[in-house]
């Protein structure tokens, strides 16, 4: 994997079983659970595990390295996410951990979990269409209203309040809504 940035925060000393004494697979699973629960500050309904932003965790003799990938090149949330991961691990008595940003393979909305799509819709954001990718990039998109499920919707703007969203409107219930763009 290709790393572009590293973030390192030393964890405060917390009395707990030293990470090096645990079985690596147990430690990895626990780190995955804790780090994966960190939410995207711009869409707090989604965890980074739901989003597919959390890519990998490596545990080597107690040393933890966490790999995350940005949704968009300019995603301003990456630094915050890295800090939140390190803090969450420190609170659980794990770490120090290194968080590395990787660019390859490039993030795609196809990585968003079903659970993530469900939570997104509940939050009021239309989830990206499955397997959309390139087809949706240039084609006509059919997006259902996340509130009333009506298919009678129209795009207001290609870009929304964050890089990953577009602004749509429902012609049935008249509510505007965000659509998580296919990418």
């Amino acid at each position: 994997m290709i790393s572009i940035a590293e973030h390192r925060i030393d964890a405060p000393r917390v009395p707990a079983a030293p990470a090096s004494e645990r079985r690596p697979e147990d430690l990895r699973a626990e780190v995955w659970r804790i780090a994966g629960a960190v939410v995207d500050p711009e869409i707090p309904a989604l965890s980074i595990a739901d989003l597919g932003v959390l890519r990998d965790i490596r545990v080597d003799r107690g040393a933890i390295e966490i790999f995350i990938t940005p949704t968009y090149s300019g995603c301003p949330a990456m630094n915050v996410i890295a800090v939140e991961i390190t803090l969450a691990l420190a609170k659980s008595g794990l770490g120090p951990a290194r968080v590395t940003t990787v660019l390859s393979p490039a993030w795609t909305t196809d990585w968003m979990s079903q659970e993530g799509r469900r939570k997104l819709k509940e939050y009021g954001v239309a989830p990206p269409q499955n397997g959309g990718g390139r087809r949706a990039l240039f084609g006509i998109e059919q997006i259902n209203c996340p509130r009333c499920d009506s298919a009678d919707t129209a795009q207001i703007a290609e870009f929304g309040s964050t890089s990953c969203k577009a602004l749509w409107r429902c012609n049935s219930c008249r509510e505007p809504f965000d659509y998580f763009k296919c990418h």
């Binding site: 301003p76 390859s104 993030w107 290609e158 890089s163």
Partner: protein, 258 residues
């Protein structure tokens, strides 16, 4: 950081990467100038989002240029501590925003190039450039779609919007030749499988530009005299003004962090 400008060790790879990084930063900065003053809220957000994509691409590229140069320059050093002559961006991207039609035309002409460019660069023998390309091509595809829709709306709109779109395309056309310029730096990158032959992208660029201009009822200008020089640090008078604003704080208070 010392005050003043950095001296860049201009190896072929460093120069090759800085060219792309500078394109992205300068165009991203231009788009950011619309923040808060765009014609409508939706377009304000669109321009800021596109600027953010480009500045994100620039950050990855500068970080990689720093790795390739290996003398300790980070992304901020490249962005804030180089003079105009050390910038290697295309003249097209430094052209002032003008009206909304000109900004759209500039973004359209660039995106129609950058989308197939980054797509081709996904096959680069350089793993980092290939990774950056895979992110950038998706972003530029989206920019292209957005701008193409605006070009059609403006060209095929009112008499005023048609006149403004025509003027914008004509004014920017002489800067499009530079997109496909292949010089020693490019040839070295092509030979190593790192870069793509820009000349091979001209056909795709022309046909996608022609298709949209036709839909927009706009004439494709004839290829006349083409302005060059940006790739070698010879810029229009506009870049200096842009950098004065972009670099002011870092130049006034060297090493300031916030």
């Amino acid at each position: 950081m010392e005050s003043g400008s950095i001296q860049v060790t201009e190896t072929p790879l460093v120069l090759f990467v800085l060219r792309r990084a500078d394109d992205a930063l300068i165009l991203g900065h231009r788009l950011s100038e619309w923040c808060g003053v765009a014609p409508a809220m939706e377009e304000d957000m669109a321009l800021a989002n596109m600027g953010l994509d480009l500045i994100g691409q620039a950050r990855s590229l500068y970080a990689y240029a720093g790795e390739a140069e290996a003398v300790g320059h980070d992304e901020d050093a490249f962005a804030y501590c180089r003079d105009e002559r050390a910038y290697r961006n295309l003249l097209l991207v430094e052209q002032p925003n003008g009206d909304f039609a000109k900004t759209m035309a500039r973004q359209f002409l660039y995106a129609a190039f950058a989308y197939p460019y980054w797509r081709a660069m996904m096959g680069s023998a350089d793993a980092m450039l290939s990774a950056i390309a895979a992110k950038s091509e998706k972003e530029m595809a989206y920019h292209l779609r957005y701008c193409a829709e605006w070009i059609v709306r403006l060209g095929d709109g009112t008499t005023t919007s048609h006149a403004r779109a025509t003027a914008a395309i004509e004014e920017l056309w002489p800067f499009t030749g530079e997109l496909f310029e292949v010089d020693g730096v490019e040839r070295a990158a092509i030979a190593e499988g790192i870069g793509v032959d820009l000349e091979t992208l001209r056909g795709a660029w022309r046909s996608s530009v022609a298709e949209i201009l036709e839909k927009a009822a706009l004439k494709m200008p004839a290829d006349g005299w083409m302005q060059k020089g940006g790739r070698n640090g010879r810029h229009s008078e506009h870049l200096g003004h842009l950098l004065a604003e972009l670099q002011y704080v870092q130049r006034a208070i060297p090493g300031a962090i916030w």
